[in-house]
Symmetry: C2
DNA sequence: GTCTATAACGAGATAGAC
DNA sequence: GTCTATCTCGTTATAGAC
């Protein structure tokens, strides 16, 4: 079975990026963690930029599968949005920032292929949210003011920001109350927050 | 007049942190920009951590003065919130991330004095917002659901997240529409967004 | 207050043996 | 597929002259 070490490298690197940022770790950190040499890492990933790109693509795929599962479960739009926010919450519970939220901060220092992959992640998230928001309007469970795409980007950036600011405080409840409020503003029932 | 070079160093370093992150620049970058040597920088700031701390303190002071000015202008709560969001917008227009939002991403790699200074920045912001939100409730211009402090942290993290995600797109309008929506949810008039 | 020079270390990367 | 060895360069930092 090939790809086992490759997967372990991706796992370790992913955690390091989410915790320390793309410029806050090195091949040496991964090598130490996996009890490998830096040279071995270069066998699997030619350079840090290639590793970074593989990281984002895997993350985007995994995120996409999670969104597919939410669709497959087939609830109301508010239930789907709550499940969406829970993906973020689970990442933060593991003391991590969203991979692409972290890379958005590092954006100016990234190679072009990584940049494009980061933007693609947010595009896909917002496109999925737009579909859910439109479902909510149709079924009468959500009441949007403004366009669905504006509501979607406000939601994504609100959740990313809530993760960003919650981490220094080490306080999940900071994320949770921001997330709850962001979702409540879209609900057709004026849910008391 | 002393402190001129010191100020130039702070200006250059501040911009570098806001654009590239704390681990995305070096003393060499500052030295090149100012046509100085790295050794000269060490005369003014013993190390990168001390420079970083001075950076945050100056930024927090400047931010605090901007908040004082908003208070001094003495409008309604919604006007104050709009002026608050405009501080963020001006930073982003200069293609920069909020200094402390960027450092929140880098948080795990920072020395303890810098960490404390970052948290202090957000504490002060939220405390100021709580006062404005309470003013709005009193004067009837804002209608809060939930506590003022929850609304304040949702606002700060929403604005920080909107900056974070707008930067990869290089698109101010992404920030602006998120900011407009965040403020609209607090308004007593259900402003069409 | 700024310089030259250099130390001491870590980064990303490669050659080539096994 | 992993290793040892090495290269080159960047990074933070210091000593000491001017």
């Amino acid at each position: 079975m090939a790809g086992e070490t490759r997967t372990e490298i991706l796992d370790a690197a992913e955690r390091l990026v989410q915790v320390r940022g793309f410029n806050g770790f090195s091949y040496a950190d991964i090598a130490t963690e996996l009890d490998l040499t830096k040279a071995s890492l270069h066998y699997h990933f030619a350079g840090k930029a290639e590793l970074g790109r593989a990281l984002i693509e895997r993350y985007t795929d995994r995120f996409g599968r999670a969104l597919d599962e939410i669709e497959a479960a087939g609830g109301t739009a508010p239930a789907k949005l709550a499940a969406y926010a829970e993906i973020y919450a689970a990442v933060l519970r593991d003391r991590r920032m969203c991979l692409c939220g972290m890379l958005a901060a590092d954006y100016d220092t990234l190679a072009e292929p990584m940049r494009a992959a980061v933007v693609d992640f947010f595009d896909r998230n917002e496109a999925w949210l737009v579909r859910v928001l439109e479902q909510g309007e149709r079924e009468g469970t959500l009441r949007l003011s403004g366009s669905a795409s504006e509501a979607a980007l406000t939601l994504v950036s609100g959740l990313e920001g809530a993760m960003l600011i919650a981490r220094p405080y080490g306080d999940m409840s900071r994320f949770e109350s921001a997330a709850r409020r962001l979702l409540a503003t879209l609900s057709a029932q004026s849910t008391p927050v």
